[in-house]
C-alpha cells in the first residue's frame, strides 16, 4: 500500500502535471477539489456560526451580520457563493460522467466551460439580488 521511503523510486511514473497541456476539463477538475475543500472548511464553519448566531438571539446575530457585511466578510461570502455553484455544477458534470456519458472530447470540454460560466452567472445573480443592486 504505502510506498516505503527507504526504497529508491525506480519504477516508471505515469505522466504527471508538468507535461499536460492545460484545458478547461483539467481546470474544472482541480477547481472541484479546491472548492470542495473550501466549502468543507470555511463554508461549513460559516454555516455553523450562522446557525449558532440565530440561536443566540438578536445581539449574537448582530455581531454575525457585522462580520458578514465587513468588506473582508463580503469577499469571503462572494467567494464561497462562487465555490458553491462551481462545485455544484462540476458535481452535476461528474454525476453525468459517472453514468458513462459526456466523454467525447468536444462535449466534455463544452460541459467543463459551461460549469465555469454558469458558476459566475449564478454568483452574480445571487449577489445582485442580495445587495439590491439595479444593473
Amino acid at each position: 500500500m504505502a510506498t516505503d521511503p527507504s526504497t529508491p523510486r525506480s519504477r516508471p511514473l505515469s505522466p504527471h502535471l508538468t507535461i499536460w497541456r492545460w484545458g478547461p476539463h483539467m481546470l474544472v477538475s482541480i477547481l472541484h477539489r479546491m472548492t470542495g475543500a473550501a466549502l468543507s472548511t470555511a463554508g461549513l464553519a460559516l454555516l455553523v456560526w450562522w446557525l449558532m448566531a440565530i440561536a443566540g438571539g438578536a445581539n449574537a446575530y448582530a455581531s454575525f451580520t457585522r462580520a458578514a457585511t465587513h468588506p473582508i466578510g463580503l469577499i469571503v461570502l462572494v467567494g464561497l457563493t462562487w465555490a458553491f455553484f462551481q462545485h455544484l455544477l462540476s458535481g452535476i458534470r461528474h454525476l453525468v460522467m459517472d453514468s458513462g456519458a459526456g466523454f467525447e472530447l468536444q462535449t466534455n470540454k463544452r460541459f467543463a466551460v459551461l460549469t465555469l460560466a454558469g458558476s459566475l452567472v449564478l454568483t452574480l445573480l445571487i449577489w445582485v439580488s442580495a445587495l439590491g443592486v439595479r444593473p
Binding site: 500500500m1 470542495g36 461549513l44 454555516l47 440565530i54 440561536a55 446575530y61 455544484l88 452535476i92
Partner: protein, 131 residues
C-alpha cells in the same frame, strides 16, 4: 490489506486503492451529493422568499418543522459529504500512514463536532423559544 491470492474475483480487488476500500465510500459521496442538490435548492429558495433576513424572521423560519427538519438534514448530509470528500484528498496526498490516520481522525472529529454544534443550534431555535 490486499488479498491477491484469494480465489474469488471480489477477493482479488478488495482492499486495493489508496483508501483500502472504495465502493461504499464512492457511492456515499454520490448519494449525499444528490441529496445536497435538493437541500441546497431548498435553502437558496427559502432565503430568497423570506420577507427579510433579520434574526427574528430567521428564527421563526427555523423554529417551524418546515424549516428545522430540512436544515437538520442539510447539516448532517453536508458534513457526511464534506467528510467523504476531504478523506479522499487526505488519502491522495498524505502518503505517511501515521499522518494519514491522524488527519483522517481529526477530520472525523471535526465533522462530528461541527454537525453536533449545528444540530444543537437548530434544536435551541426550534425547542428553546429563542425566537
Amino acid at each position: 490489506m490486499s488479498r491477491g491470492d484469494s480465489a474469488s474475483a471480489l477477493g482479488k480487488v478488495e482492499g486495493l486503492g489508496s483508501a483500502g476500500h472504495g465502493g461504499g465510500h464512492w457511492l456515499s459521496e454520490r448519494v449525499t451529493s444528490a441529496a445536497l442538490l435538493l437541500l441546497g435548492a431548498w435553502l437558496i429558495a427559502s432565503l430568497f422568499f423570506l420577507p427579510s433576513l433579520d434574526q427574528r424572521t430567521l428564527a421563526e423560519w427555523l423554529a417551524a418543522p418546515s424549516g428545522a427538519v430540512p436544515m437538520a438534514l442539510l447539516v448532517v448530509t453536508a458534513f457526511i459529504h464534506a467528510l467523504d470528500g476531504m478523506k479522499v484528498v487526505v488519502d491522495d496526498y498524505v502518503h505517511d500512514e501515521g499522518n494519514r490516520f491522524a488527519l483522517n481522525t481529526l477530520l472525523l472529529f471535526s465533522a462530528i463536532g461541527g454537525a453536533a454544534l449545528a444540530l444543537f443550534a437548530i434544536g435551541r431555535i426550534a425547542f428553546g423559544g429563542a425566537a
